[in-house]
């Protein structure tokens, strides 16, 4: 093996490891901090939200860099099992990049992206059911809490006013 090939191999391995660690952090850290039954500290939450804001771009870059590193590595590394390990590492980075694009909170609580509404007179709901009620102009609307506490967020427009009903 030439010195140049050895050098390329080392750079490729280092790049791959950095990408792997970075992508892993991008997925794991927000999951670790923002768990439902765990207290969130102000600083760690702020850090997790910053990670969440940028992780799609960061993991995409990791993917591209890891793939480039893999190409260099294949050229510099003749052993098949090491090549296989490097390929598995890159595949893992790509999986992490895909996971970074998944909103797990909306997997748990499916969004209602197209809310539909019925006339109060026709809706069959127990009179004791709790609702969040609003009135804008002459328009009145109610959001049953059993419904909205599952979807959590309803993007709506009432009397031309854009609102978000939350619970």
């Amino acid at each position: 093996m030439t010195r140049e090939a050895q050098h390329n191999r080392r750079i490729a391995v280092a790049t791959l490891l950095v990408c792997l660690v970075l992508a892993l952090l991008c997925v794991w850290y927000p999951l670790y901090v923002i768990r439902p039954f765990r207290a969130q500290g102000a600083r760690e939450l702020a850090a997790a939200l910053v990670v969440m804001r940028f992780r799609e771009a960061v993991t995409l870059l990791c993917c591209v860099a890891a793939l480039a590193a893999l190409v260099f590595y294949w050229r510099a590394q003749p052993r098949k099992w090491r090549r296989a390990c490097a390929t598995a590492g890159v595949a893992f980075v790509c999986v992490l990049a895909a996971l970074a694009r998944v909103n797990i909170y909306e997997l748990m609580f499916h969004p209602d992206d197209r809310p539909a509404f019925g006339a109060a007179a026709n809706i069959k709901l127990d009179p004791a059911e709790k609702v969040i009620a609003i009135k804008i102009g002459g328009a009145a609307r109610a959001y049953p809490i059993r419904n909205i506490s599952y979807h959590h967020v309803i993007n709506d427009v009432l009397d031309k006013v854009a609102i978000v009903a939350t619970y």
Binding site: A119, A128, V131, A133, Y143, P144, T166
Partner: protein, 237 residues
């Protein structure tokens, strides 16, 4: 309940996380994260911004429908109905564990409070106590307010205790009988001798045709209210 138009943008929100059991939402347009309870941007390009407030009430459906027979209601999403909370969700939630606690005023984390954030201060009223008293005359900061329990015995609204043309707060009295209809009289005030309904509007007497200004109530668990309103005072009698 918040408005979605801010900084020249119409935002669309999605559930995006949780902060000590109060959820975070993210808007599609800027990627900013917003706190549900406060409507404040906590991270992202619009950090520090505040969503416009939209008044809402938490009521029993029967009470609301009697007031607004021509209103509309959010419909269930059929594939997820089985995942919605059970009918006794409030009882079950009352037993759920909290991740933070504030051992103050003899309150437990899951005690239900009626929180008012207005007039520069925060004040919380124990829900059970308000239900028992049926009419609470109090102050939030320097502002006199009324908390009124509806005829269903569960819904609560708050109003500024200021009647048009009357100097200072008025003494209100609860009428003994529960109202037969949404528009029926619930209260009477000493200053004008007017009868008032649950919507805060005078239906007879000198003040007839006028309404009290509504004050937003947030029905919330003590731990959550206290976490986001650290300087809150608590109504105790």
């Amino acid at each position: 309940m918040w408005g979605r138009d801010i900084a020249g943008l119409r935002l669309t929100f999605h559930l995006a996380g949780i902060n000590n059991q109060n959820f975070l939402m993210r808007d599609d347009q800027t990627g900013t994260y917003w706190q549900q309870i406060s409507g404040q941007a906590v991270s992202g390009p619009l950090r520090g911004s505040q969503l416009p407030f939209v008044h809402s009430d938490e009521l029993n459906f029967g009470t609301w429908r009697a007031e607004e027979p021509r209103g509309t209601v959010l419909q269930d999403v059929a594939p997820y109905v089985a995942e919605y909370a059970p009918k006794d969700w409030d009882v079950q939630m009352g037993r759920a564990r909290t991740v933070i606690d504030f051992h103050e005023h003899g309150l437990k984390g899951r005690d239900v409070m009626l929180g008012i954030q207005a007039f520069g201060v925060s004040r919380a009223f124990p829900y059970d106590q308000v239900i028992r008293e049926k009419l609470v005359e109090d102050h939030v900061g320097a502002e006199p307010v009324l908390l009124v329990v509806g005829g269903d015995g569960q819904s609560v609204r708050a109003f500024r205790n200021r009647i048009a043309g009357v100097k200072g707060p008025s003494d209100f009295y609860r009428l003994p009988a529960s109202p037969a209809s949404a528009a029926a009289a619930l209260l009477m005030d000493a200053a004008t001798g007017s009868a008032w309904n649950f919507q805060g509007c005078a239906i007879t007497g000198k003040a007839a045709g006028t309404c009290l200004e509504p004050v937003q109530i947030l029905k919330d668990y003590w731990f959550d209210w206290r976490n986001f309103n650290p300087s809150t005072t608590v109504y105790e009698k």
